[in-house]
């Protein structure tokens, strides 16, 4: 774990080409999600070479920021999302994150977690795994964890979660090239993850599988019918309402349109 991407001799770093905000055309979209204050913006800055404002307090990023990079010939668009504790919540900044993960069809979602309080962070990671398989779990802030005498067994974690796990310290750049490599493996389909699903068997999963085709019939092309089915089974009134009014399809269409047409521009966290 001592790869440094600023070192010009290192082959991994020469494969990375920071593109800043000049993304232009891109091949893949990668979303950065995670609990507040886990260093998503630091990861974003380290990869894109941008200077998205970072700060040591939860809730700093209120809107999403986008940047790009090139890795081994492929162009990526990286989307930094506001921190969120759960995909079930209602605050506006969290909704931005939720809508993008659910309906923005990222080619890969990187869940950035805090190594010093992994257990709490895994709640969101498991929720994301519940709805998507194209996930990389990035255990960040390893430098801080080491100072606190915490080690993470990435191999065991990866086996349990069923997706690639990478240990990083975004501020020093440790582990970032491994992260880029894992993202590449997911987007190109080099590896097929088998994400951990809670309540694997039983009536709940049966009910979900029964509803999914019905949802797909009503809203064709809606990504994450699985999430919608789960919310319906949970009795979420807003999702019921959204199905009636066609709002869900609209959100999905908006996220798709955004992905396809809007020029790359960076939105700094606190200034508009």
């Amino acid at each position: 774990m001592s790869d440094c991407n600023s070192c010009s001799v290192c082959p991994a770093s020469s494969a990375l080409d920071r593109m800043g905000i000049n993304v232009g055309k891109y091949d893949y979209v990668v979303a950065l999600a995670g609990n507040p204050n886990t260093g998503k913006s630091s990861v974003f800055n380290a990869i894109t070479g941008l200077r998205q404002h970072t700060g040591n307090w939860p809730g700093k990023t209120v809107s999403r920021a986008e940047g790009g990079y090139r890795f081994k010939g492929n162009r990526y668009k990286l989307v930094d999302l506001p921190g969120t504790y759960s995909l079930l919540s209602a605050a506006q900044d969290e909704e931005i994150a939720r809508n993008f993960i659910l309906f923005g069809r990222p080619d890969c979602t990187v869940v950035v977690t805090d190594a010093t309080c992994l257990e709490r962070n895994l709640n969101l990671a498991l929720q994301v795994l519940e709805i998507s398989a194209k996930v990389v779990v990035c255990v960040n802030l390893m430098d801080e964890a080491k100072r606190k005498g915490i080690e993470i067994d990435a191999r065991a974690l990866g086996r349990d979660l069923g997706v690639p796990v990478v240990l990083t310290s975004a501020r020093t750049g440790d582990g970032l090239s491994a992260l880029l490599r894992s993202i590449e493996e997911i987007v190109t389909g080099e590896i097929t993850p088998e994400p951990h699903r809670v309540l694997r068997d039983g009536p709940f999963q049966h009910a979900v599988s029964e509803l999914i085709p019905m949802i797909e019939e009503i809203a064709p092309g809606l990504p994450n019918a699985r999430w919608v089915a789960m919310r319906l089974l949970d009795g979420d009134h807003r999702v019921r309402q959204a199905l009636y009014t066609g709002e869900l399809t609209q959100i999905a269409a908006e996220q798709k349109a955004y992905k396809e047409t809007v020029p790359m521009n960076i939105t700094y966290g606190s200034e508009e």
Binding site: P36, N37, R51, H53, G55, N56, W57, P58, G59, V62, S63, S89, A90, A91, Q92, D93, E94, L118, E119, R120, L122, N123, A125, L126, Q127, E144, R147, K148, G149, I150, E151, I152, D153, A154, A156, L157, D160, L161, H196, V198, L199, P203, F204, A207, L211, M214, I215, E217, I218, L232, L233, D234, G235, L243, Y244, T245, Y268, S270, E271, E272
Partner: protein
Amino acid sequence: MNTPTNPTEALLARAQELRRTLGSNFRDELVEAIYTDAQTIADRAVIRSGSGKFDFDQRIDRLLTSPILGLPLMILVLAVVFWVTIAGANVPSQMLMTGLFWIENAGSSLFERLNAPWWLTGFVWHGVYRGLAWVVAVMLPPMAIFFPMFTILEDLGYLPRVAFNLDRLFGKAGAHGKQVLTMSMGFGCNAAGVIACRTIDSPRERLIAILTNNFVPCNGRWPTLILLATVFIAAAFPPKAASVAAAGSVVMVAVIGVLFTLIISGILSRTVLRGTPSAFTLELPPYRRPSLMRILYTSFIDRTMFVLWRAVVFSAPAGGLIWLLANITISGQPLALYLTDWLEPLGHAIGLDGVIVLAFIIAVPANEIVVPTILMLYLGNTMMTEEFSSSNDWRSLFVGEHDWTLLTAINLMIFSLLHNPCSTTIYTIWKETGSAKWTAFGALMPLALGLVVTFLIAQAWYLFT
């Protein structure tokens, strides 16, 4: 909007049915399953070896967030930050002023030698350029000192502790504890503070936070406060205590701002925006060692230069406008004089004067230019021969030539805390609330409050002196 189609009805009906078969505690089951799995997986992956670092963090937290010492320590930290800013900004400000006004004089004499028309020389050098020079000289040094210190506090993780300390007070006012974080952003820029209110999920509490954000003085107003504190408050103390007294008075203004935030939040949540404060969890992040390069980058490029650039953009046209007002004459009197004479009664009633009121009107686009505008209006068309190398020179201009008293200084400080937000912030409030009514309220309520408070202070002052 589509009319409900049969498949939708069928889906929802089936979902309801399945829901019943799953039982009412299925949601708890799912959440519990996620928690249990998270715990098992984390237990297998995390290897802990005992360390003292964690205890150290907690020991500091016990002190900084203690119910008794938390608030005084916070005010002390704020006071130290201002004291360093005031003590450190003095000398570079004077050097900048000397240098920049030397350029003005050199530039205008060059124009004269080239036989440029007098109005061109005046407009360019004594108007546009002078406006720029004042803004840079008055604003740059305090910002270049204040912002790095603020960024260090932010990076260390102190801001959430402040929110924790003030949460009880904000709860009593019916407001959200996260409002403190949005206020901290307001210290930098109120427009940024208003945007930061998105982190508050309850619409009622979010609106309260947006409407009261203006009660935290933004960096456009710090230079005004610091200058007045240095020239008037510090002068009333012996030299050794002067900068401490000046810092203390600036902290006082900040505390008054917080008090008004609490009072107005309380009034709003008991009248038009009734409701109970919602509970929320706030993580206290670990203390992190700030990275030097990042602090320099954030505080100079993102903050100082961003703010300075904005001030420069607004001060150049303002400088030109002021020069025109001072040089376009109607029946032998400059236009500016008509305006200030007309505003004089209002100014006097609130303990200020017509020039100061006009300066606040010209400075609606950017609060940064209040003091430079006052100076330009006072100095009129004169060459910059006057030296401003010590606070005595400022005093002789304000007190000696324009009859300022301690009342003028106090009320100017209060009025710069309590008045309408700048146009950028007003626009941001409109964008964030989407309501013309609340935008108007957010703009006019602080102005009305400022007028009432300064009026009462002035009348009391006139009564007793």
